[in-house]
Amino acid sequence: MTTPLLEVKGLRMHFPITEGIVTRRTVGEVKAVDGVDFTVGRGETLGLVGESGCGKTTTGRCILRLENPTAGSIVYDGIDIASLGQREMVKLRQKIQVIFQDPFSSLNPRMKVGQIVAEPMKVHGIEPDAAKRQARVLELLSICGLNAGFADRYPHEMSGGQRQRVGIARALAMNPEFIVCDEPVSALDVSIQAQVINLLEDLREKFGLTYLFIAHDLSVVRHLCQRVAVMYLGRIVELADSDELFDNPQHPYTKALLAAVPVPDPLVEQGRVFRPVQGEVPSPINPPPGCVFHPRCPSAVASCKVSRPETREIKPGHFVACTEV
């Protein structure tokens, strides 16, 4: 196998919980990400799925070094991001960009679209010449399906889908290799989602991009990703090729998650026997001992309460962290 573009090993991100105003004492920790390993190959799209609070967004933020990880390594193209200094990180950020979920709050409401897209080029000194920069802005907008007229508009004059296209154009301004897509379509209407998904696919092909695609909508993930990692309470419980994961899920949590998603077809739905998984996601401040899923797991045995299950490769490329599989 060729070396992956991104290799994450033993990533931990624990946020301290502090008390006191004058003297702050740490009284606990939120274990947002608690030992995560995965790789992303060049040109590949890896899906990171899970429910709110599972640590998928925090994982993405660690890769962007918007958080300083507590432990572990994040090796991007041979460089360990986790140990880079500020200045070196600024350089690397040109290669690693991000698209956020909410196109309302991630665009500056006081800037015109043209300025928003030009800003990163200015900051990084990529295109110092104003006229060339302007031409590049229009080119980027057109790549993202927006005509030149949009450069003079403000974000509030645009629909959610158009705003998300601006967010994508801004990410592309740096000619990145790797884009962390954090729920890029979940705030959009159904009919617009497909437009943006297709755009992301086109860009991936055209520019040879690599995506880490963070989402909770499993149908979108199945469509867009080659491989998928399922997270629960700060850990990856299952990782496999997309079709393998969705057709042959092994971890009880993955199974529960897939069963919970209704399919848009009444005939299929009538044929499904469905019992929702019980209980709610426990707090990451005080996660359950052993396997974090055991309190909700229908197939838990005594040992699940005691020891944390190792991740095993049950088939080539199919990893599961469950002893009962």
Binding site: S52, I192, A260, P262
Partner: protein, 332 residues
């Protein structure tokens, strides 16, 4: 038997700086006792405003219900005095909103939010109301009801809050519950729990349910009948099976085609609904979906098609070409 709810020609408009927005532009549908009807549409299609109009919860100004009838159990709700309407809300018609954090009162305990409804509508004493509140929490699957009653909304998880909302909606044995995107703010596994709970309770207690959603999967799993809305009008209505397997409006067809499916391997490419949702202040006299429609013809620009029978008895579509689509056109 007459339907429990019979909405006829409902029009609700908003006066805005950009002009009059006909958010609901003449919708008619019925809901029978005990059945689940889904209203599907995207933001701005008028699905929420339509439901709020049933309860007359439209802020005036800028909004106004300008025409129509809302017959509930034979009475026209639009003709009731405000006091009579207040008696009806929360007792005969329950409401479940999308965001349980903003729709529960943050400074009142769960107990008070439940007992308030019961004392107000049922004239229950405090002791009776508390007892009923306990019973309701158990009904919606909240363990340790006694402790939960003393807590405030912020001490509960999102799923738990939505269970409390359901308990409040059920408190006075309503005949109808309107649920506006009841699970959109929740995680998938919690969403499944809440929807199963709503299905079980409405069936057991014979309560009619209007579910407003944009999620086509939820509709397929839970609804018996479906109304698809676009630009303030119902463009297609029918049984869930008819809507999904024999769609007769190009918008419904396009919508079903555009969603990726969890039960199918990756296809080459999605087929999005091209273009943008319409600006309701700038509708011309033609079909509002025309600019995005791949079946549009000259006639579509001249007048707006009305709902007409298409296919089976209770299947209606507002399209001039509703009868022409082949199985290949319709395939999702």
């Amino acid at each position: 038997m007459p339907p429990l709810l019979d909405i006829r020609g409902l029009h609700t408009e908003f006066r805005t700086g950009a002009g009059i927005v006909r958010a609901v532009d003449g919708i008619s549908y019925t809901v029978n006792a005990g059945e689940t009807v889904a209203i599907v549409g995207e933001s701005g299609s008028g699905k929420s405003v339509g439901a709020m109009s049933i309860l007359r919860l439209i802020p005036d100004p800028p909004g106004r219900i300008v025409a129509g009838e809302v017959l509930f159990d034979g009475r026209d709700l639009l003709k009731l005095r405000e006091e009579e309407m207040r008696q009806l809300r929360g007792s005969q018609i329950g409401m479940i909103f999308q965001e349980p954090m903003t729709s529960l009162n943050p400074v009142l305990t769960i107990e008070r939010q439940l007992t308030e409804t019961l004392e107000e509508h049922r004239g229950a004493t405090r002791a009776q109301a508390v007892e009923r509140a306990m019973e309701l929490l158990r009904l919606v699957g909240i363990a340790d009801a006694g402790r939960r009653l003393k807590q405030y909304p912020h001490q509960l998880s999102g799923g738990m809050r939505q269970r409390v909302m359901i308990a409040i909606a059920l408190a006075c044995d309503p005949k109808l519950i309107i649920a506006d995107e009841p699970t959109t703010a929740l995680d998938v596994t919690i969403q499944a729990q809440i929807l199963e709970l709503m299905k079980e309770l409405t069936q057991r207690l014979n309560i009619a349910l209007i579910v407003i959603t944009h999620n086509l999967g939820i509709v397929a799993r839970y609804a018996t009948r479906v109304n698809v809305m676009y630009a303030g009008r119902i463009v297609e209505s029918g049984t869930a099976a008819a809507i999904y397997h024999d769609p007769r409006h190009p918008y419904t067809i396009a919508l079903l085609r555009s969603v990726p499916r969890l039960d199918r391997p990756r296809q080459a490419r999605l087929e999005p609904v091209e273009g943008q949702p319409p600006d309701l202040t700038r509708l011309d006299g033609g079909c509002a979906f025309r600019p995005r429609c791949r079946f549009a013809v000259a006639a579509c620009a001249l007048s707006r098609p009305v709902l007409a029978q298409a296919g089976a008895d209770d299947h209606f579509a507002a399209c001039f070409r509703a009868g022409e689509f082949t199985a290949t056109d319709q395939a999702a």
